[in-house]
């Protein structure tokens, strides 16, 4: 059922942009933050804002308890088999780099192969290029289907006995194509390789069960799922995490430090050096609570309703070219306006108070696949309304007169 009950939870939606009520259609870049998350983070700083894993006084224990309880919460949220499989990171990018440089690179030999795809976000693309170059390994690309997804057969077509590691997204950031990650994991394991899933775009929209998927690693960010920036999660099967080298060395991750040698804590603590992002982890916990209160079913229905409403109207406009019309689970619409450069268009939206994304969207490989230098992307979340779509469509109709912005 479509409703607008959630909008009031997001204080930023009371703001204006360029003198117009703010319409936010860029949630695939970062979601807005609800009041409950802001309050929870404020509460930490105001009421028990001390360090974790150190203080033997009562307030330190309170901070510890709040912080570590989020690990339990994340474990249940993604259905990991133990809380020790949950590593807090700065975000998806950091999580992927930790695996690339701490797990894959040390094991990689010249001639080995890493498989990824052309629809990956740069965060799940550039680290693999670098790791492959450093090890003399080869990067292979699983072909995309018409919707921009990697099918199990497509993955199989590039796998070989040389494949050591596979890195694919769960949902892509431009086309929002959904990959059957369970089947992709199965194919990977049949070849004796291991797989990391970039879940940054999926976690805000789909219930995740890492044991059912049977992936070896899964990474996601807090800020795309109503949480704060600066926090994310790396899930890893415990044996994989125990075999992974730390990416950062320092305090908190150590067991015993002697003059010339140091031993480290077990996973996940060995990967959380220094003072962690305490308020952000606690905020992530509040975001999970909030998301579960709404429920994925509600989020999906809301987004699908709004997306269909937008697609129907966009399809009436002959100047609009949509790249992912059939990705019905998608929370994005990737499109261009004929004869209008995306940056010319985005200023028209901007001046109408409508925030959408323009450019290469951190996915230059994908854009080269669809032969576009830059595109427009609008993306939806549960706080959007039909009125937002009406404003978006009105701006779209004005975008062909893009020079108007110079003469207002």
């Amino acid at each position: 059922m479509y409703n607008t009950d959630w909008t009031k939870d997001f204080p930023i939606l009371n703001q204006e942009m360029n003198g117009k009520a703010f319409v936010y259609l860029d949630s695939a870049a970062t979601s807005l933050t609800p009041e409950v998350v802001l309050e929870k983070m404020n509460e930490y700083y105001r009421e028990y804002g001390v360090n974790v894993h150190r203080g033997v006084y009562a307030m330190g224990a309170k901070a510890d308890g709040e912080f570590e309880s989020v690990r339990d919460q994340v474990q249940k949220f993604i259905k990991a088999s133990s809380r020790e499989e949950i590593v807090f990171t700065r975000g998806t990018t950091t999580a992927i780099n930790m695996v690339a440089f701490g797990y894959v690179l040390p094991k990689l030999q010249a001639g080995d192969e890493i498989v990824t795809s052309m629809s990956e976000h740069h965060a799940n693309f550039v680290p693999w290029q670098v790791v492959a170059q450093k090890a003399g390994a080869t990067l292979k690309f699983a072909p995309l289907d018409a919707n921009g997804a990697v099918t199990p057969a497509a993955l199989q077509s590039v796998m070989s006995e040389k494949t050591r590691f596979v890195a694919l997204n769960h949902m892509s950031n431009v086309m929002s194509a959904l990959n059957d990650v369970q089947a992709l994991s199965r194919v990977t394991h049949e070849f004796g390789a291991e797989i990391l899933i970039d879940g940054a775009q999926a976690v805000p929209h789909l219930s995740i069960d890492v044991q059912a998927i049977d992936c070896d690693f899964y990474a996601f960010s807090g800020h795309k799922m109503f949480g704060p920036t600066g926090v994310g999660v790396l899930y890893g099967k415990y044996a994989c995490l125990q075999a992974m080298e730390p990416f950062e060395y320092g305090g908190a991750m150590i067991d015993q430090v002697q003059q010339f040698t140091t031993s480290y804590k077990d996973a996940p603590y060995r990967f959380e050096s220094g003072t962690p992002m305490i308020a952000e982890v606690i905020g992530l916990g509040a975001a999970i609570t909030y998301l579960e209160k709404i429920g994925y079913a509600t989020i999906q229905t809301q987004i699908e309703t709004l997306r269909e409403y937008a697609i129907q109207q966009l399809e009436q406009l002959e100047q609009v070219e949509i790249y992912n019309p059939h990705n019905h689970e998608a929370a994005t619409i990737a499109f261009n306006i004929k004869d209008v450069h995306s940056h010319d268009a985005v200023t028209v939206y901007d001046l109408e108070g409508v925030a959408i994304r323009a450019g290469h969207l951190c996915a230059q490989p994908l854009l080269s696949e669809i032969h576009q230098g830059s595109i427009l992307r609008m993306s939806l979340q549960v706080y959007n309304t039909k009125a937002d779509i009406d404003r978006f469509i009105a701006a779209t109709k004005k975008a062909s007169d893009f020079l108007d912005v110079l003469f207002l």
């Binding site: 450069h341 995306s342 940056h343 830059s374 110079l406 003469f407 207002l408």
Partner: protein
């Protein structure tokens, strides 16, 4: 829709430079300095090529892709600085920077480029309007010219 006379003229100038750019396309000859600038956030990509003889800019070429403001501005830039002395070209460049940052419009120096004066009200687009000028500026900078001729400098 009715526009003021100026506005109508400005629109025509911008669209004309956007659709039929002047001095577009690079040449492969010795004696040119080429600078390649990109705006990684939006994908604007601009190369500017300059030949200087006895302190005079004898030829300017540009090539690239980007939005209307970026492309039209590069075309206007090439038209404005061709045949000028380095000092005159630098004065025009400064006049353009001043205009798009809202610090006054020198019609005499900027000629058709005054059509882009509205950029001053669009802060996120200033970097579009100045990309070609910034590349040009680097082609005539002392450091660049002192390097081997024909060198291509890529900066982001």
């Amino acid at each position: 829709m009715s526009y003021s006379y100026d506005e109508q003229m400005f629109r025509q100038i911008i669209m004309d430079h956007y659709k039929t750019p002047r001095f577009k396309g690079l040449v492969e000859q010795p004696g040119f300095v080429t600078v390649h600038l990109k705006n990684p956030s939006c994908g604007d990509d601009m190369q500017v090529q300059t030949q200087v003889e006895n302190g005079v800019i004898t030829e300017v070429h540009h090539d690239g892709s980007g939005c209307s403001i970026c492309c039209a501005s590069a075309s206007m830039m090439a038209q404005l600085v061709s045949g000028e002395t380095i000092e005159q070209a630098q004065a025009k460049k400064q006049a353009f920077y001043d205009m798009v940052s809202g610090q006054g419009i020198d019609e005499e120096l900027l000629d058709e480029a005054i059509s882009l004066q509205g950029v001053a009200k669009l802060p996120p687009r200033i970097k579009c309007a100045t990309l070609g000028w910034k590349a040009f500026e680097q082609t005539i900078s002392k450091e660049t010219v002192e390097q081997a001729e024909g060198v291509t400098i890529v900066t982001e």
